[in-house]
């Protein structure tokens, strides 16, 4: 008996790869439909359901239920495999799909967070690093002459010494603090589709920043404005409404005051996201540009301005575009339909020019 430990790690790995593929397909579907509701509550695990896989065989039963096997092997019995997907893994996959870069973090981050990540590689282990192993095997095969396309030899030998496994390593990361200001214009008709779209985006931003900084390290604060600006609870952010005049500059002014007054700007990362119909009056646009340029941009990591279902009178982004086209800090987006959800997210978070 050569085996010292009986285990099914490699087979489990193959199954997990299969699940990863399924999850990846599922995320593609979510992104194609712009349906980010699956994200669930803040930081909670995501429950994923996929079609169960069963070996098709000649068996008795009612043929009316379920469908036949879709692939060469796995068949479908009509049942479901249900499992929890860790929030961080889900967000990492989502970020990969959206090609979102990690957010640049600032601050001293004195407090350390410890985690174990697969950063190093070793000749023994459990999880085979296929790419690295293949590279080494290819190099060896070229060296030993078994792979020589010029002579028509294409064999690649996988020798034990070429195998490389992923090995977990203790990683200490500084813990950063972040504050996110969500700003909403309550003077316009925020209900129905507008409300749903705004909720989707706010939900994604919350999850994305929680994923980047850690849920405990992010303050999410909500502000609304008409002709005045004030802070509200999250649930009120979607409920309050007022028909009348509006002035957006004051809410930018307010978050700037709060950022300076309540937080240490040397150790905190600031984010601000504005949602509104973009209908501004008088010199509101110029004032916002001035506040952004002089006060906010020097200390904020990112400012996003989204015109939700803009009309012909929406002028906010027009004003801002004069000053902040392809800006690293200030990102602008017009949300015209549900299919713009992913585009808006990309505009808010992708590198300039990559969206």
């Amino acid at each position: 008996m050569q085996e010292d430990k009986i285990n099914s790690n490699e087979s489990e790995g193959v199954f997990n790869d299969f699940i990863d593929e399924k999850v990846s397909d599922m995320i593609d579907e979510i992104l194609n439909e712009g349906n980010l509701d699956t994200l669930g509550d803040r930081g909670s695990e995501i429950i994923v359901e996929i079609d169960d896989i069963v070996v098709p065989t000649f068996s008795y039963g009612d043929g009316s239920e379920g469908q036949g096997g879709g692939g060469q092997g796995p068949g479908r019995e009509g049942g479901k495999i249900r499992f929890n997907l860790p929030f961080n893994k889900f967000m990492a996959l989502l970020a990969e799909k959206l090609r979102l870069p990690n957010l640049t973090k600032e601050g001293k981050g004195k407090i350390k967070e410890v985690s174990y990540e697969f950063r190093t590689f070793a000749p023994v282990g459990v999880i085979l690093d296929k790419k690295r192993t293949f590279k080494r095997s290819l190099r060896t095969s070229i060296g030993t002459g078994t792979y020589a396309p010029a002579q028509g030899r294409y064999d690649i030998q996988f020798l034990r010494r070429d195998k490389r496994f992923k090995v977990p390593q203790r990683v200490e990361k500084p813990r950063f603090k972040a504050v996110v200001f969500y700003m909403g214009d309550i003077s316009y008709s925020t209900y129905g589709q507008r409300l749903a779209s705004e909720k989707k985006m706010v939900n994604f931003i919350k999850n994305w920043l929680d994923f980047n900084y850690g849920a405990r390290n992010v303050d999410h604060r909500f502000f609304v404005h008409d002709v005045k600006a004030y802070e509200v609870q999250e649930n009120e952010f979607y409920q309050v409404g007022n028909i009348g005049g509006t002035r957006a500059a004051i809410v930018f002014e307010l978050i700037y005051q709060i950022a300076f007054g309540e937080y240490d700007t040397g150790t905190t990362n600031f984010y601000g996201f504005y949602f509104g119909d973009g209908e501004i009056f008088g010199s509101d646009g110029q004032e916002i540009v001035q506040i952004l340029k002089e006060d906010i941009c020097p200390v904020f990591n990112r400012i996003g301005v989204v015109e939700v279902f803009p009309s012909q009178w929406s002028k906010l982004i027009v004003e801002l575009e004069k000053e902040f086209v392809f800006d690293r800090i200030v990102r602008l987006s017009r949300y015209r339909s549900n299919s713009d959800t992913v585009l808006t997210i990309k505009k808010l978070f992708a590198e300039p020019g990559q969206e």
Binding site: D4, I6, F58, Q72, G73
Partner: protein, 539 residues
Amino acid sequence: MKPVKTDPVLHELESRVIWHANDMGRTLPEIRFFILDRIEFASLLEKHVYPTSPVNIWEGKRMVTKKFNIETGQESSLYYEVVQTGNPAYAYLNNSNSPMMQASVMAHVVGHCEFSELNVLQDSNPDRTEYVMHLVKKVNMGQQQMGEKNYIQFWNAAESVIPLIAPHSQHNLAHSVEDDSFRYKEAESVENDSPTPKLMRPYSYTMDVLLQYDSVEVAWEKEQKKKDHQEQISRKGFRLYRPCQDILGFLCRYAPTSRAEKAILDYMYVSHSSHDFVIRSQIMNEGWAMYWEKKIMLKLFAEKAVKGVIDYARVFSGVCSPRPFFMRNPYHLGYHLWNHIEELYRDGKVELEFIEETDQHKKETWKKPARTEPVAAMEHLVRTITDYEFLRRFLSEELVEAFYLNRIPKMYVNMLGLNKETIIRDDSQFVWIDPRLVKEEMLMFFTHFQRPRIYLIDTDFIDGGLLLLHRNDGKKLRKDWIRPTLRNIHYIWKGAVSLVSGGSLFTYSNNRLSEKNVPEMTFEQVIEQMKKSEKPISA
């Protein structure tokens, strides 16, 4: 995984168990005991009780599910005993069991190992576990040759054929296919089907043929048939002359596969073929193991090698608790039947004298030692019969009642579709049904094992394609699984594959499934056609 000798207490118990088994005259192979933790145990079961297995998604799925169930408390990780018989036999102990439980597991394993050595199906073979480990290595090498995608596709296709293993069926490979390796033997058996009376004993086969009183037509026909057979074998390498139920065995041997693909099929066949033995002899096997386990454990308790006789009694009665016939508990039924048989032989109730006795009172109080030792007679049964004959011969109507096999919880009455005529009495919780029906049903199980019976009946159906027959059991196959299953067999055979089921002919060829109506044929008609070397169904 640790050898048992690393634990002094268990090592001592092992030596005592083996000593008592030998003292009782048991026929044992070499038994190697190992200690596993609970996750290793779970993994071992998913590898079909072999320490290694090739990488596959199904094992991964089952293992991930099992780990989740164990961690969330939905499944117990306490397994009673696991043994891979053969010589040497490998038995595995769960490290979370108490010494008393470990001793009982060892004693139980002794019973299984002896049964494997003695049984009529000749289950035990040398170095079985080692051979499977060798096959795993071949599959792993083949995986690299095939490439990951092809390997996974072929493995998944082969999984579909696993239920089509029947090495112990009367329609197994040896009785349905002839090739160069056993052509002459089978040719003789075909001849014997229609024996010609011989008037004199010839001294050579040539003389035998010359002196037979066959007409010229018959002799010509025979000669032509023999020529056809030989041509077919030399052309294809084999000839199917009867329906073959061991379809995976057939594919292993005759499918046009690469070496890597063959390694996968060989592994599948070898690692799963013992299931056929288990299903055909489970009642006798588990009963035999329980019978000797108890005898050995009583010796261990008597010599105080282990403590906890009350706990053992509790576990034993739990394992041997009665269940209705359709939820058959092989431990309970087997153990009590073996005890009953021991009593029959001990009291001489199998002698002709007892059977011919007409006085009922004398019969009831009969106690005359038999000429055969009870244990020797029981061993003879192990060597000669399987579960079907075991139940047919010994499970009387009185025993069906005594073993509570006909006692059914009321909640199952509707599910089983029992009518009033079959129920003989009831109380608030249970109904009792006619014991004759119970025995009939239990014997019926061994004809189909509650699975569809699929046979290979033609190997040259459509362009060298296979033709399978679903033997009519009055049930329909799950239709939406016919296509993927045929596709998987097609992937292995690399040619058209057809299935006749209930008057329909399904053919999978060129990535398409077609269905057409054909006249329904009985299994017996198919055999007759094949005997005449005619195609059972024309394409």
